[in-house]
Symmetry: C2
Subunit: 264 residues, 2 copies
């Protein structure tokens, strides 16, 4: 009997996503709500979502379920390059002329909606001062997460890697209203975890058990419960992305600082 998860509606998720980054006015809220009104699409676990990237860049938005960008080696080794969770877009970057070396695959049953190409439509600062800022922040955060992945794999121990990654997931999900009290849907098998953190399944299993023994996590039936976030963050040396205030267009800056003041 799995814990029921009341998924946010597409619009609510979109609002949480943007609202978590920039203070939204009523105008932006309208635009975003509308964006979420497209019909959702369902995917089975393991479906290939994107074989060639770049075809639909930044246009498919995850409403529920997880996916991953994967590269496979000839002998069967697989590396998950990054994980996509609800509130992410699938299908970044790439170029139509360049053959892709990765696939994007569903790691669980998945629901997506087709949005317009927000990156293209909203990145103009003069037309969308607020939303373009949000998109810039999203891109910058994503880049940091990509760097995190490299550091984990390159220089951290098994325990550190997993701790760091779980902390990162918690950060990402709670910023968009997908986690409550350190608890969130976690649909991956240990094999998939292994492919994320570059370890063997067996070792992942043992490391998770150690975390459980220490009372830092609970993980069962598709749900992760982080009991000791502080400790995980410290163990993995996770750096939470933090906003500097300052250098923004005035209108945005004012609202932003108001929002930050409220958030304190």
């Amino acid at each position: 009997m799995s814990v029921p998860h009341i998924a946010q509606s597409p619009s609510a998720l979109l609002l949480a996503r943007f609202g978590g980054l920039v203070p939204l006015g009523e105008r932006e809220r309208q635009i975003i709500r509308k964006l979420g009104e497209r019909a959702p699409q369902a995917w089975q676990n393991n479906t290939v979502l994107l074989a060639h990237e770049g075809e639909g860049s930044m246009t498919r938005f995850i409403v529920s379920g997880w996916a991953a960008r994967v590269r496979a080696l000839r002998d069967g080794r697989r590396q998950i390059i990054d994980v996509h969770v609800p509130g992410d877009w699938i299908g970044h970057a790439g170029h139509p002329l360049l053959r892709t070396t990765t696939r994007t695959v569903a790691l669980s049953p998945l629901r997506t909606i087709q949005t317009l190409d927000v990156q293209r439509e909203w990145s103009d600062r003069s037309r969308e001062p607020v939303l373009s800022t949000a998109l810039g922040l999203i891109a910058a955060e994503d880049q940091q997460f990509a760097q995190n992945q490299v550091v984990r794999l390159g220089r951290q121990t098994a325990y550190e890697r997993i701790a760091h990654w779980l902390a990162e997931l918690h950060y990402r999900l709670s910023a968009r209203g997908e986690a409550a009290a350190g608890s969130f849907v976690f649909p991956l098998t240990q094999e998939a975890i292994a492919d994320v953190v570059g370890l063997s399944v067996v070792h992942v299993n043992r490391t998770l058990q150690e975390m459980r023994r220490q009372g830092r996590i609970e993980l069962r039936s598709g749900r992760l419960n982080i009991l000791a976030l502080r400790e995980l963050i410290a163990a993995g040396e996770f750096i939470e992305p933090t906003l500097k205030s300052g250098l923004v267009p005035d209108d945005v800056a004012v609202r932003l600082s108001q929002a930050l003041a409220l958030a304190q």
Copy 2:
């Protein structure tokens, strides 16, 4: 007595960089040549080039020498996230509001020039059909190299990692006229290599020796000689970025835009 390296002039390097990706017309050549005429700037080994990223995005161009984006852990472990070589720009991405977690550091004496923000100025397809394509390809390639780094660190053995990385370096450098007959300037210490491929210095040393013993590389006094590129590529399972359509160099820009229209 070091092997003399006749560095390309900034303009020549820029031309090689763009010309290696798209067929340039005389108009584009003019524009690019002009871009290379700014005064070069010199940096000592180990200088911090960027503490806060995003300040000068895509505006500093490496003429000679190598640099790297680095993340440090508290206990002194360091991971090099990516390496910048001549023909690369420094200072991508990031966002002024987001505190950076990496530094960009010179890994050798370095010469750069300040260019205009090509990403901003040339990314409009209607104004710069050829150059914008080149920029798109650069971004897409860079993304693939970033993915390569993750796969190396996550799923490859020491030997594979180094082989793969050397093959990638060779690809990047020769595409811009910085390598001849598999030989190129290679100014890194083994410690820096270790920080790239996520290994200990000692193990890097032993792995390099194995490659030498097999007659696949020569590495001494700041120069790398790849004697068996095929074998390195195969061992590391390196995938050379390949253009899909047969975009044969052809001086007419029109052909290119036709090809692009088809590719859409």
